[in-house]
Amino acid sequence: MSAPASPTPIPVATPEAVAGGRRQDPRRPGRTRHPLPRGLFAAVQTSFLVLIGLLVLVPLAAIFLGTFQDGGQIIRNGLSLDLDFSVLSLDNYVLLFTDSGPYFRWFANSVVLTAVQVVLTLLVSSFVAYGFAMYEFRGKNAWFISVLLLMTVPFEIMMLPLFVLVNDVGLADSYGVIVVPFLAASVTIFFFRQYFLGIPRELLEAGRVDGVTEFGIFFRIVLPIARPALAAMAILNGMVIWNNFLWPLLVLRSSEKFTLPIGLNTLLTPYGNNYELLIIGSFFSLLPVLVLFLLFQRFFVAGMTAGALKG
C-alpha cells in the first residue's frame, strides 16, 4: 500500500481520532459530516435496506406459497402472494414424496455429479495453479495470459463444435463429457494462484530438505494449508455446477440420466400435465444450496469475490 495522500498520516483510524482532529482545527468549527442528523440518516438508511431486503425475497415467498396450491391454476393465473386458505393443501408434498416419477432420480444425479465434479475441479485447478504460482519456467507468461483470456471467451461459442465432436466419437449421453472439459477451470485456477502466492516459499524449501518430491510438496504440504481457499472454491464451483444447464441439456439424452435443471425444464411444456411437480420440484431444488449458504455464508462471500481481488 502506498502512503495516504495527506501531509499528516493518521495511524489509527477511529471515529474518535477524526473527531479529535477536527476539534483541533479552528477554521472549521461547526462543520457537520452529514446533511441529516446522524440518527435520522441511520433510520432512513435502515428502513431502506429492510424494504429492499424484503422485496428481494418476494419471488421466493411466492413460489413457496405456490407449493401449497394447484399447479395448473398457477400456470394459468400466475404466481402471487394471495392467500386463499380454502385452496391451500399439502397435496403437492404428498405427490413429491410418493408419486414424483424420476424427480428424486434427477435429484440424486445432480448431487452425485456436483460432488464428483467439484472435488475433481478443485484438485485439477489447484494443481495447475500451483505450477503458475511457485515456479519460473519458459512460456509461463503466455500460458497465464491464456488462462485470463479463457475467462472472457463464452462457452456458448465452443458448445457447437464440442457438441459435434462428442457426437462424432459417440460419447453423447455420458457424464464424462459434462465433467472433463471443465476440470481446469480458469477462474478457479486464477483464485488458487492468488492464494498460493501468499504462501511462504520457505515451507517448500523445508519440504525439499526433508526429501519430499515436488508433487509431494503440493499434495502433502501446500494443499492441507490451503483449506480456506478449497472451501471457498468448493462452494463457488458447487453453486455453478448444481445449476449447470446448457451443456448437460445438449449432451444428456435419456431421462434417467437427467440432472435437476434439465428434468425440471422438461416439465415446463405447454402440454404438460405435471405442473404441481414443476412448482414444488423447483422449490425443492433450491433447498440444498440455501441450506449450504446458511451454514457456510462466509465461504460463499469469499468465493464470489475471488476474481475481483487485486492481483
Binding site: 493518521i10 394459468r76 393465473n77 400466475g78 463464452p154 465452443m158 526433508d210 526429501g211 449458504f293 475481483a308
Partner: protein
C-alpha cells in the same frame, strides 16, 4: 494431513533452510533434484523427474494445456473452419464467406444482435451504479451492522437459484392475467394488467427484473470487497483536508475501486452479450413473439442445434466471439489492465 503445521515451523526461516541445504547431511535426494539439469537428458530416472524443479512446472500446468488445446483451441479452430462451410447431414462443402454474406443480410440476426447489445448496455447501466451505491451504504459506519448483514445475505440468495428455477418463477410472476403478482402490484396504483411477455418492452422489463434480482447482490459483494481494500486513512486524511462525503466518493472511492470496476464491467459485457438462458426460461423456449427475446446465442442455438445448420451457426459464433473480444480487449487496454498483468 498434519504435514503442513509440523513441517512448517522448524524450518520456516530462510537462514535455517539455507544452512540445512548447504549441510546436505540428511538425504542426497533434494540435491539430486537441483543437479538434474546438469546431467545428460538420457540419464534421468523417474526419481530425478519427481524431484526436478525444472520439469515440475510443466507437469503442473499440463492439465490446463491439454484442456486449452482439446476443449478450446480445437473447437475454436473447428468453428472458424465450419463457418466457411455448408454442413448438412455430416457432409461439408467449402463455401468461402457465403455464410457471413448471408448473415450480413439476415434481419433476424441483426435483431438478435440488437437485443443482446441492448440487454448488455441496460444491465451495465442498472447493475453497476445501483449495487455500487448500496455497497457504499453498507460500507458506511452508520446504521446497524446486523441489519446490514441480513440485507447482504438476503440480496445474495437469488444468486443461488438456478436460472431455470428463477426463470420459471419470473415467468409466472409476470403472468399477463390480472392475478399475476406484478399486475396485482400495478393494480394497487390503478393500472390495467400488462401483457408482459407479449410486448417487446414488457418482455425487456421482465428480463431486466430477473437480471437485477439475480445479480444485484453479487455485484454488491464485489464492490464491498473493493471498498474494504481502501485504507481508512485515505478518508481520514481527506476529511481533515475538508473534503465532504460527495468529494470523497469521487476523489477517493471511485479511483481506488478501479480494479473492481474493471472486473465487474468485463464480466457484465461478456454475460450481457452471451445471455441466452434467462430469455430461454422466461419465454419457456427459444421462441418469443416477433423474436423479441431472441439473443445472439439463442440464434446460434436455433440455427445450430434446432435446425442443424452448423456452418451458418458457426458464423454466428465467430461474430459473437469477435464482438466480445473486441469490446473487452479495447476496454481492458483503455483501463491499462494488460500492462499491469505483463509486469507480473
Amino acid at each position: 494431513m498434519d504435514d503442513g503445521p509440523t513441517a512448517g515451523p522448524p524450518l520456516a526461516t530462510g537462514a535455517r533452510t539455507a544452512t540445512a541445504t548447504a549441510g546436505g547431511g540428511g538425504g542426497a535426494s533434494p540435491l539430486d533434484g537441483r543437479g538434474v539439469t546438469r546431467r545428460r537428458p538420457g540419464g534421468r530416472s523417474l526419481k530425478d523427474v519427481l524431484y526436478s524443479q525444472k520439469l515440475a512446472p510443466y507437469f503442473f500446468i499440463a492439465p490446463f494445456v491439454i484442456t486449452l488445446l482439446a476443449f478450446w483451441a480445437v473447437p475454436l479452430v473447428r468453428t472458424f473452419v465450419m463457418s466457411t462451410q455448408e454442413v448438412l447431414f455430416g457432409e461439408s462443402a467449402f463455401v468461402g464467406t457465403d455464410n457471413y454474406e448471408r448473415l450480413w443480410r439476415d434481419r433476424i440476426f441483426w435483431q438478435a444482435l440488437f437485443n443482446s447489445a441492448r440487454y448488455m448496455v441496460l444491465t451495465l447501466v442498472l447493475l453497476i451504479p445501483i449495487p455500487l451505491v448500496l455497497a457504499v451504504l453498507l460500507n458506511s459506519k452508520i446504521g446497524s451492522a446486523r441489519v446490514k448483514a441480513v440485507f447482504k445475505a438476503s440480496l445474495f440468495v437469488p444468486a443461488l437459484t438456478s436460472v431455470v428455477v428463477a426463470g420459471i418463477i419470473f415467468r409466472l410472476m409476470f403472468a399477463e392475467t390480472g392475478t399475476g403478482l406484478v399486475n396485482q402490484a400495478l393494480a394497487l396504483f390503478g393500472a390495467d394488467p400488462v401483457r408482459w411477455l407479449r410486448t417487446d418492452t414488457g418482455g425487456l422489463v421482465a428480463l431486466l427484473a430477473l437480471a437485477m434480482w439475480r445479480y444485484t447482490g453479487v455485484n454488491i459483494l464485489y464492490f464491498l470487497a473493493g471498498l474494504q481494500s481502501i485504507p481508512d486513512e485515505y478518508y481520514e486524511a481527506a476529511s481533515i483536508d475538508g473534503a465532504n462525503k460527495v468529494q470523497q466518493f469521487f476523489r477517493i472511492t471511485l479511483p481506488n475501486l478501479k480494479p473492481t470496476m474493471v472486473y465487474v464491467t468485463t464480466i457484465s459485457i461478456y454475460g450481457g452479450l452471451a445471455m441466452f438462458l434467462e430469455s430461454f426460461m422466461l419465454y419457456a423456449g427459444n421462441n418469443s413473439p416477433n423474436n423479441q427475446g431472441l439473443t445472439v446465442v439463442g440464434y446460434l442455438y436455433r440455427r445450430g442445434i434446432e435446425e442443424n445448420d452448423l456452418g451458418y451457426a458457426s458464423a454466428v459464433g465467430v461474430v459473437l466471439l469477435v464482438v466480445i473480444m473486441a469490446i473487452n480487449l479495447t476496454y481492458l487496454r483503455l483501463t491499462g489492465t494488460f500492462s499491469k498483468e505483463g509486469q507480473r
